[in-house]
Amino acid sequence: MTKSSIRSPKGPTVVNGILMGYSDDVLANLLTVKAKLCASKFELKIDDVVFIGHPLLLHPVSQETAKRELVTMISFNVVIALLAPIDREILMCYHNLTKQLAIALRHEERRCGLLSEQKRTIWSIQDEIAARPEDSQESPYGPILEKCRLSQQLKHVYDELCSSGVVQLYINKWVHINWCLPHKLHNLYMKDTSHTDTPTHVARPVFRPQKFLIEALRPYHGMLLLIDATTLLDSLPIDASPSLVRLIKVTSPFKSLQTLASDADISLRQVYQLVGHLVYWRKATIIFPLCEANVYVLSPNINTFVNSSLVEKCEESFPNVSLPVILSEFSVPSSLGDHKDVLGLPQQQAQEVQVVTWLLQHGLLVQLHTYVLMTPKFCKSWRQTSHHSVGTDDITDRTRLLSSNSDLNSTASDDSYSLGGRSLEAICDNEDNGPWCPQPEQILAGIRAMRNNKIGALDNQEELTLLARLCPYFDGKHHLEEIMYAENIRRSQLLTILDKFRDILITSQHEDPVISAWLYGAGIKRSRTS
C-alpha cells in the first residue's frame, strides 16, 4: 500500500505542518480503504482534521489475484489532511487534486510500474534502518525523501499547496498535473496586501468562482491582465486554444469585452469563457474599461503599511512615484480625468494611466460606480404590494398619492382623471407581467404628488419619456455605465435626468459587486467592521 499524507499548515492537531497525534499504523488503518470505497471520493473527519482523498484499485477486481505481484498492492489512496471547518467548495477542489494525482499514479503504475518500484525503494530503506543497532536508528522518512522520486514529487505538491495554491508538474515526467485553488490564489493576493492574518480558508467569505464566471460578465466589462502578456503567452501549454492566444494579443485595459470579441474575431460567449478561465487562474481580473469618467477609491482591504514590499515594487516600476502619496490621493474618490494633470506633458499623462493600471493590477483601487434608486415613496411601494403584505406605510403613501391626484383631478379635465386611482390599479395588476414600465403620465402624476403640485420645469415631454424609459434601471442594481450601454444614451443625457429629477432619484456610489467579488471574496459584506 502506498499512502501519502499532505498536511495543512496549522491547527490544534496539526502543528508546524505536521499532523500530530496519529501513529503511522492508525493512519494506515484509516486511509487504506476497502475495495468498495475505491474509485470515489473519500472523506473522513476526526475532530478538527478532515482527510480528503481518492482511493483507487490498482487493477480491475477480476485480475486481482492473477499476478503474484499484486497481492502486496491492491489499492492506494492519495490523501490531504486539512483543518476543519473548511468550506465545501474548497474541499471539493482539494478532492479534485487528489483524484488527478491518484489517476496519474495509477496510469504510471500500469505503464511502467512506478508505484511498485518506489515501494521497493521505500521498503529497502525501512529494512536497512530497522536492521541497524537500536541506538543508530532514525526516522526512515528523511532517507526516503532523499532517494524516492515519488516522495519528492508529493512533497513538491505539498509545498506548492502551502505557498502558491498552484500545482503544476509532470508525475514521473509523463502525466501532466495542472491544478489551482482559486480561493487561495485570490486570497493569497489579499494576504500580501493586507496585514490581517486570517487563515485563508476559514474566516474569509468564500467566493465561488464557477458561479461567477460566465453569468456575471457583461459586454461592457473589460479585462485587465495581471501579468505581462508576453509572459502569459509563453506560459500557455502548447495545445492552448488559438482563440485564447488571439484574445490575449488584442487585450488592452481600454477595451470592453465586446470590443475584444470583435478584435479577436471570436464570439462574445467564448470571450466570457476565456476571460473566466484567465480570472480563475488569476492571470487577469475584471474591470470596467479605463476611461476619464471612471472614479476610483482605495480598496478597503489594502495594506497601507509604509514598509510593505508593494512600496518597493511600485518604486521599481515608477521611480518618481511614492506609493503612500498616491494612495492618499485616492483616499477620496477621484476620476481618472481629475487625476490626470491636464497641464502635464503627454508622457506624464500616460504615466498617470499606467500608475492607475498598476494599482488596479495590485488590487489597491476599486472603481466606484453610480447607481440610481427611485425612492419607494414614489413608486417602489406600489411594485411591492403584490409580493408582500401591504404595510401601513404603503397604504399611507398610496392614499397620499391618490388623494393628491384627486385634488389634481378636480381642477383638471376629464381626460386626466385616468391618471388617478384607475391607473394605479392597473400598475398593481400588471406587476407580474414583466418589468414595470410606467407611462410618462403616471410618472408625472407621481411627481406632482411628490412635489405637492408644484410642477415647475416638468413640461419637457421628452425628458419625461426618457425618465419613464429608464425607470426599470432605477432599482440600485444598474450603474450609469450599464444604463448608458443598455439604452444607448449619452452620459450627459443621463446626468440631465438625474439632475432634473433629483428629488425623486437618489444616487449612491459603490463598487460593482461583480468586480469586487474577485478582489475580496463574495462582496464586501463581511469586511464591514474592519
Binding site: S23, V26, L30, L37, S40, K41, E43, L44, K45, I46, A84, R88, H195, T196, V202, A203, V297, L298, S299, P300, N301, N303, T304, F305, V306, N307, S308, S322, P324, V325, L327, S328, S331, V332, P333, Y371, L373, T375, P376, K377, F378, K380, Q384, H388, G391, D393, D475, G476, K477, I506, T507, S508, Q509, H510, E511, G523, I524, K525, R528, T529
Partner: protein, 336 residues
C-alpha cells in the same frame, strides 16, 4: 427526507464473538450490513480514536459518531465498545450535530457506569424507542427531552453553526443587536462621533427590496413619536461618501426634521452592512528630517494604525493627533 435532517440513528457495538455490528437502528435496515462492514473501521475504531467525533462521508451517507471504550474486568475482553451514530444525506452540513452526538455518547457512558444500562438486556431493549424519539424530536424542533428513569433524563439541542467572531481591538465600540432584547435606553452610548466617515456598500439595495428590513430600519432609526420615511433614510445613507462626515450630512439635510435619529441610523447601517466605516490611517513617508519631540509618535504612522487606535492607545485626542499630522508635511492620510 428534507436536507439537513437526521436520516437514521443506529447503535453499534463490538460483539465479543461476532465483532463490530449494528445492534439497533431506526428506521430499520437503513444502513445495510454490507455498508456497515465496509465502514465499520471508522465506527468501532482502534482504541487510539476513542472519544473522538468521527464523520465518514462515503457511499452517499454521512455518518457522525463518537466511539466509546469502557474498560472494566466485568466485560468480555475487559471492555465494552460502542458507538451511537447519526446518519445524514451526504450533502448535509453535520457540524452542528457533532456536539449532540458527543453528548449522547456521554449520557450512554454515564448510564452504563451507573446502572449497567447497556450491558443489561432488559434496559438495553429500550434503546430503539429512545432512538426513535430522539430522531423525531430533533428533526421536528431541534430539541428533545427524554426521561430514562426517575433521576435521569436526556436533554439534547441542535445548535446553529457560528463563525468565530472577528478580532476585537481596543478602539472597537460595542453595539447592541436590536433583534436581541436589551433595554438600551439606560446605556450611555459614548459612541456618538459626528466626525466619522462612512460609505455605502452594494448591500444598500437591500433596503429597497427587503420589506422586513425596511420596517426594522424605520422602527430603529425613527425619533420617539415620529415616523421617518424610506426616501429620507435612503437619501441620508446615499449621501455618505468618502470625504463627507456625518456632521456634513446633518448640516446638509437636517435629519432631525425628518424624524431620523442619525446616531441610530449609522448604527443600523453598520450592523446590517448597508454602510461601512472608513478609517483614517496616517502614513509618514520615510524621510530623514524629523521633529525631535514627535519622534515617539512616528511608530504609529507606519500605515498599520488608524486614528481610533492611535488615540485609544496613546491618549491623544483626535484634535491633538490632527495637529501633529497637519504640521508634518511628510505625513499623508489614507482612508480605507
Amino acid at each position: 427526507m428534507p436536507l439537513g435532517e437526521i436520516s437514521c440513528i443506529f447503535f453499534s457495538e463490538f460483539h465479543p464473538t461476532a465483532g463490530p455490528k449494528i445492534v439497533y437502528q431506526v428506521p430499520e435496515n437503513y444502513i445495510s450490513k454490507d455498508e456497515f462492514d465496509t465502514v465499520h473501521v471508522y465506527i468501532i475504531t482502534k482504541p487510539q480514536l476513542k472519544d473522538r467525533i468521527i464523520t465518514i462521508d462515503v457511499l452517499g451517507h454521512k455518518i457522525v459518531g463518537c466511539p466509546v471504550y469502557i474498560e472494566n474486568p466485568k466485560y468480555d475482553r475487559n471492555k465494552l465498545i460502542f458507538n451511537l451514530c447519526f446518519v445524514f444525506d451526504c450533502q448535509t452540513n453535520t457540524l452542528r450535530y457533532e456536539s449532540v452526538v458527543k453528548k449522547l455518547a456521554g449520557y450512554l457512558t454515564t448510564l452504563e457506569n451507573e446502572s449497567g444500562f447497556l450491558s443489561s438486556e432488559e434496559t438495553k431493549k429500550q434503546l430503539p424507542e429512545i432512538l426513535t424519539k430522539i430522531l423525531e424530536e430533533l428533526n421536528r424542533c431541534g430539541v428533545c427531552l427524554i426521561p430514562i428513569d426517575q433521576s435521569t433524563a436526556i436533554h439534547l439541542k441542535v445548535t446553529g453553526d457560528h463563525l468565530d467572531p472577528g478580532q476585537v481591538h481596543n478602539h472597537d465600540v460595542p453595539i447592541y443587536e436590536p433583534r436581541a432584547k436589551y433595554d438600551i435606553s439606560k446605556w450611555d452610548m459614548a459612541t456618538q462621533q459626528y466626525s466619522n466617515v462612512y460609505v455605502t456598500t452594494p448591500d444598500i439595495n437591500s433596503l429597497l427590496e427587503d420589506k422586513q428590513l425596511q420596517e426594522e430600519c424605520l422602527n430603529y432609526i425613527s425619533r420617539p413619536g415620529q415616523t421617518a420615511n424610506l426616501h429620507h433614510v435612503l437619501t441620508l445613507y446615499c449621501g455618505l461618501t468618502a470625504g463627507t462626515t456625518v456632521k456634513d450630512i446633518c448640516a446638509r439635510h437636517n435629519p432631525h426634521c425628518y424624524g431620523i435619529d442619525v446616531r441610530k441610523l449609522i448604527q443600523f447601517g453598520l450592523m446590517r452592512g448597508l454602510i461601512r466605516h472608513l478609517q483614517k490611517y496616517p502614513v509618514r513617508v520615510p524621510n530623514d528630517d524629523s521633529v525631535g519631540n514627535l519622534r515617539n509618535f512616528y511608530k504609529w504612522f507606519n500605515g498599520n494604525h488608524c486614528y481610533d487606535e492611535i488615540c485609544c492607545l496613546t491618549g491623544l485626542s483626535q484634535q491633538e493627533l490632527d495637529d501633529i499630522v497637519e504640521n508634518d508635511s511628510n505625513i499623508v492620510i489614507c482612508w480605507k
